[in-house]
């Protein structure tokens, strides 16, 4: 427990987050903090790879919604990848996927962002 991590890589003007562990309030706030940092650094395109975070609770998703709002308000875009089917349903139910599209893989999301899809 408490081993939540966010690794960040950059590809051109895209910040790619890879989370590992349970996304609850703590995990969500950690992602939120990292997002604030990359926004401050000038990045406006953010991809969050949830491959190693199959378990997310509603508070974690609420925070992700907040992050989506924050990025959209900064004229940016957020994308999720590697979301499990059950989590994708919950994202739909809570209205997250409406503002932050989900892609199968990071490569798919990067292609979309760079207009090569």
């Amino acid at each position: 427990m408490g081993s939540f991590q966010v690794d960040i890589k950059f590809a051109d003007d895209v910040a790619i987050f890879k989370t590992s562990g349970y996304i609850n309030d703590l995990g969500g706030e950690r992602i939120e903090k990292e997002c604030e940092d990359v926004l401050r650094e000038g990045y406006r395109k953010v991809i969050i790879n949830l491959k190693d975070s199959p378990i997310i609770n509603s508070i974690g998703i609420s925070i992700l919604i907040g992050i989506t709002d924050r990025i959209n308000k900064a004229d940016g875009n957020l994308f999720f990848t590697n979301v499990t089917n059950s989590n994708a349903k919950v994202f739909d139910f809570m209205g997250l996927s409406k503002y932050a599209p989900i892609f199968q893989t990071v490569e798919d999301a990067v292609r979309h962002v760079s207009g090569k899809a």
Binding site: Y22, R40, I55, I65, T84, N85, S86, V90
Partner: protein
């Protein structure tokens, strides 16, 4: 004081302060607290204000005192304070700045110099000192020292101006033999002929000094704002020139936000570039040097020293970093000490002590049992580097051990009953498993692990297991957060029969009335501090049936998921 050729920016603040002081009349004047982030340069500003007053006017007698040490005996403070003030009085009246040159001078030496001057005012001051010292009247001595600016002003210019740098240190001087300085200063600051300007840690002074009734309305707070982008560029270019470092401002402008407008950070980086003879002509060079500064350079050394001064015990220091790095604290949100202790599984008393030490060091803000991190991104980057370095040094092993303790690989379920037939392995129509969980942070994950073990007996598709798991996690969190259960436990029962999986989540706390739960509103939830409110709706959307059953005590939630047509019950199949 920083040499003139290395001091950039803040000229407007100095002028504003000097103008304010020089406009003094014989009406009562308001004292001023110059507030600013740590290392923002407030000390440098007040020293320059003193210099300005010393050199360029003769109407107001200026004083400057820098609190640097914690005096354990009030008499030592009194002697140090009087020595500084009388020395400055003599230098000002003689118009001789050389008297201020930084050579050590003792109290007895300044007394001898004073008595040799045949100055009746000074003579009387020392006579009063001797009388109080012999009494002994320690409180009288401290009052004498604190009122010295008024006495010295009254025998010279008529008006005085007292600058107190790092005033928050008086809060750490607690004397058994005398009333504390923080309680005596308000009276000294109430005189209309001497005005005060002071600096210090904002949160501490607001909480423990300015909140005193006797200080009400007597202090004007001047916020030392973060330097503007233009000013930061000017300062940066000035420093590069000073340290003979080549730069191209257009190329590196985008990186200057890192310094948060705080000169100390810029000086550290530019000075290092000068030592290494590296030109600061590209963003990459600045990023690399910045990383070096916050991991092993002067910035890291500064914060390491602060932490080491607060925490001699390395484990205590590690807990302090954990507190500072906890997301709500780190992102500057208020969090209660008790919640903090709960989240980190630390003893409440220990958390209180650590947070208080951090507040005293200016590394945390706090009041009324709440704390929050300071808004300094550079300190945040230092914390991130420190945390990463600890993780790589061994915390990962600790965490693996911790995870194994919490999530043992052995079965965590108790098989309760199997419909009257023999237990494990034999065919039955119904089988139940029980689990009792303590209400502690993240144990809903233990429930999720248990569910996976139960679900192995049924061919649920992964997607369905994911939905049930989320519903179960939400149900557990609801119990943690709303039951207020005295036994602090959640009782979970999984029952498999021919057609469905039933999960009962029960607690012995306050009854939960689902009809009073509002339909979640996205905007309202996002605006609320805890961002909660989705749980019940989510559970209903994920499970086939959800019912709250009437129980005498607490809440009993039953959730049902029917097997998909293609799924079968493995226990039944043998």
């Amino acid at each position: 004081m920083t040499p003139e050729d290395q001091f950039f920016g803040r000229k407007e603040e100095i002028k504003a302060l000097a103008d304010r002081i020089l406009s003094l009349t014989d009406l009562p004047v308001q004292n001023c607290f110059l507030m600013g982030p740590r290392r923002a340069g407030s000390s440098e500003i007040v020293r320059r204000v003193y210099q300005e007053l010393f050199l360029n006017q003769d109407r107001i007698l200026p004083f400057y005192y820098h609190f640097e040490r914690i005096f354990n005996d009030p008499i030592h403070f009194v002697m140090d304070y009087l020595t500084a003030l009388i020395r400055q009085y003599i230098a000002f009246t003689d118009k001789d700045p050389a008297i201020l040159l930084p050579e050590i001078i003792s109290f007895h030496a300044i007394e001898k110099i004073s008595r040799d001057r045949s100055d009746p005012g000074l003579e009387q001051l020392f006579n009063d000192f001797e009388a109080a010292d012999q009494a002994p009247d320690k409180e009288g001595l401290v009052s004498l020292a604190l009122n010295a600016p008024l006495r010295l002003a009254s025998i010279s210019t008529g008006y005085g101006f007292m600058i107190l740098d790092h005033l928050h240190l008086i809060l750490q001087m607690k004397w058994a033999s005398c009333v504390n300085l923080s309680e005596l200063y308000p009276a000294a600051m109430g005189h209309s002929r001497v005005s005060y300007l002071f600096t210090g840690l904002k949160s501490l002074l607001l909480r423990e000094f300015l909140s005193q009734e006797s200080m009400a309305g007597s202090v004007y707070c001047m916020d030392l704002s973060i330097m503007s982008e233009d000013k930061v560029q000017d300062v940066f270019c000035g420093l590069c020139e000073c340290y003979k470092v080549k730069t191209e401002i257009d190329a590196v402008r985008q990186e200057l936000y890192r310094f948060y407008g705080i000169p100390f950070y810029m000086v550290s980086l530019v000075r290092r570039a000068g030592e290494l003879k590296i030109p600061l002509t590209s963003p990459e060079v600045i990023r690399d040097l910045y990383q070096q500064q916050i991991s092993t350079g002067d910035i890291a050394f500064y914060y390491e020293s602060l932490l080491n001064r607060c925490f001699r015990d390395p484990l205590e220091k590690r807990d302090a970093i954990r507190i500072l790095y906890l997301p709500p604290v780190f992102s500057g949100k208020n969090i209660g000490i008790e919640e903090l202790a709960g989240r980190l599984s630390l003893d409440l008393t220990r958390v209180r002590e650590i947070t208080e030490s951090l507040i005293l060091a200016g590394l945390l803000e706090g009041n009324y049992g709440m704390v929050r991190g300071i808004q300094d991104p550079v300190f945040g980057d230092f914390l991130r580097m420190t945390q990463r370095s600890w993780l790589s040094k061994g915390e990962q092993q600790d965490r693996r051990r911790e995870a194994q303790t919490v999530f043992p690989e052995v079965s965590i379920l108790t098989e309760m009953k199997s419909n009257g037939k023999s237990d494990r392995g034999e065919q039955g129509e119904k089988i139940s498993f029980g689990l009792v969980l303590p209400m502690v942070s993240e144990t809903e994950l233990v429930a999720a692990r248990a569910l996976e073990q139960v679900a192995e007996r049924v061919d649920f598709p992964d997607e369905e297991i994911g939905k049930i798991r989320m519903a179960l996690i939400e149900a557990c969190i609801n119990s943690f957060e709303h039951s207020g259960s005295k036994d602090g436990k959640i009782y979970i029962t999984f029952t498999l029969d021919k057609e469905k999986l039933s999960i009962v989540v029960e607690d012995k706390g306050i009854s939960f009335d689902p009809s009073r739960v509002p339909v979640p509103d996205r905007e309202k939830i996002l605006a609320a501090p805890g961002r909660r409110g989705w749980g019940i709706e989510l559970i209903k959307s994920l499970m086939d049936q959800v019912t709250f059953e009437d129980v005498p005590v607490g809440t009993k939630l039953r959730m049902i998921k029917y097997y998909p047509k293609e799924a079968g019950w493995k226990a039944q199949a043998g």
